[in-house]
Symmetry: C2
Subunit: 148 residues, 2 copies
DNA sequence: TTTGTTGCAAAACGTTTGCAGCCTC
DNA sequence: GAGGCTGCAAACGTTTTGCAACAAA
């Protein structure tokens, strides 16, 4: 129910943005947005392509195009966890999550931390207008740590 | 002088690591390590290639191979500021920095912040052994901010 | 002498681009 | 009907791989 509301809100925001920018409201664009808001995890462009292929005659070019638009209106965020792996994820109301990445098995865990949030708040100053951030902590997860 | 010491220490660490792992101590490997420790900024694989071509008959494959080894023994760190731009930077004595990246002109600025350092210190716990982190703040630099 | 490492070239990979035709407005 | 958007395929830039020759141990 909560999820459903988030998709509705995202749809509205998206429509507003498309109108404002005089872009067209194509079914593909809304289908991709829905995928992001239905998904639990980050998605890669190719994952979206594989899922959509079942229901649509769609191309990777369109997916990248739509991702670009969704990034521009802040409905998704981009993650560059490591080389050759660009992921995208719906942007919740706030984007104050951080990620722990296991360098051995690649597992990624989201977390939140009050002190880090506070420390980050004021990183805008007269010389730099902050838009968003990414904080990744690399290390060994419980399982992989034991093996060493 | 301080720089020189850091290179010496890095060389020693590298030698120890190569011996421990039964890898060979080739001149190319030490030359690449030296480039990292002489450099002020991050370097891309191709930048290293361009610099080395003058003095060595070297290939990109070797550079990627060496980078892999240097990452494994924590003598350099990898930065993935954005798609298609992988940079590497010496790690020793250099791991408490954060980066502000202008999304308009691509300029990258290193900075340090006491509160963030403190907030990050304790992100290791019994479930996760932190090795290193990356914190990037994306936004508009002074120049690009004015234009908007 | 053994075999890890190299240079080189070709292949792989994710992403971007160009274009003719389609569909939103 | 105009022109933004699409699918498709080819192009791109970076990284990886395969292989014969080389050189560190």
């Amino acid at each position: 129910m909560k999820e459903h509301n988030q998709l509705n809100i995202a749809n509205e925001k998206f429509t507003d943005f498309l109108i404002k920018k005089k872009l067209r409201k194509t079914p593909e664009r809304y289908a991709i947005l829905k995928l992001f808001y239905d998904a639990e995890n980050f998605l890669s462009a190719d994952t979206i392509f594989q899922i959509m292929k079942n229901d649509y005659r769609v191309s990777l070019g369109t997916i990248y195009n739509t991702i670009e638009v969704l990034l521009e209106c802040n409905l998704i965020v981009k993650h560059q966890f490591s080389q050759n792996q660009t992921f995208f994820e719906r942007a919740y109301g706030n984007n104050l999550y951080f990620y722990k990445i296991c360098t051995a098995c690649g597992k990624i865990k989201k977390f939140s931390d009050k002190n880090i949030r506070i420390a980050l708040v004021s990183k805008s100053d007269s010389n730099f207008f902050a838009q968003h951030h990414s904080l990744y902590i690399y290390g060994l997860c419980h399982n992989c740590g034991k093996k060493k």
